[in-house]
Symmetry: C2
Subunit: 115 residues, 2 copies
């Protein structure tokens, strides 16, 4: 979804967090929201997004409702109960991940270097 590979693996967490926050969203809306929040830095591609949404739905984490708005189809997704619980886990994992990455890149001074 981006030239920097760092975002690999974070798409599901992003989707679930946005749905937790906004109640229900449709695919295109998610891409635009992410673009907005990241100031254009993260552009989720359709090839990544739609398969991800389908998988989350297949896994029972999302429910879908199809609606026609302005003569165009929209598939609104929202978290299931199971999805809400899982979102909590994913966000905790993300927090741990960020902490770990920060430990790795901004390490506390190395005792080995003291003499």
């Amino acid at each position: 979804m981006k030239n920097s590979q760092l975002y690999k693996g974070s798409l599901n967490t992003i989707i679930m967090k946005l749905l937790e926050e906004n109640g229900r969203m449709y695919g295109y809306e998610i891409t635009q929201k992410v673009k907005l929040i990241t100031k254009g830095e993260l552009n989720i591609t359709e090839g990544a997004l739609y398969p991800a949404l389908h998988k989350l739905e297949a896994d029972g984490l999302l429910d879908v409702e199809v609606e026609k708005v302005d003569n165009r189809m929209r598939k609104y997704y929202k978290l299931t109960e199971s999805g809400e619980k899982e979102t909590v886990n994913r966000l905790n994992e993300l927090e741990e991940f960020i902490k770990n990455m920060q430990s790795l890149v901004s390490p506390s001074p190395n005792p080995d270097l003291q003499f």
Copy 2:
């Protein structure tokens, strides 16, 4: 390298940062260092590490020196000049990535919810 897929895509950055910091390291040493820094949370598998090191070397970002210590082989890696430059880029990308993820998961309060 971990059950949480969030780490996908971050291995190269981790390797390069550790090498920037420590001058030179060998593969096994990297796995142990990461385990230590992340308090056991992140265990880099050999199946991920060694191919990654080989690719970084092939891309001209790392140099390798083979040594025998205690009758066991060690392959010490260090950043090339090009690798040092690239490390700066990767670390900037990581910083941006973390900021973006934090924006996504700890958003400023949603005006829509105010009434």
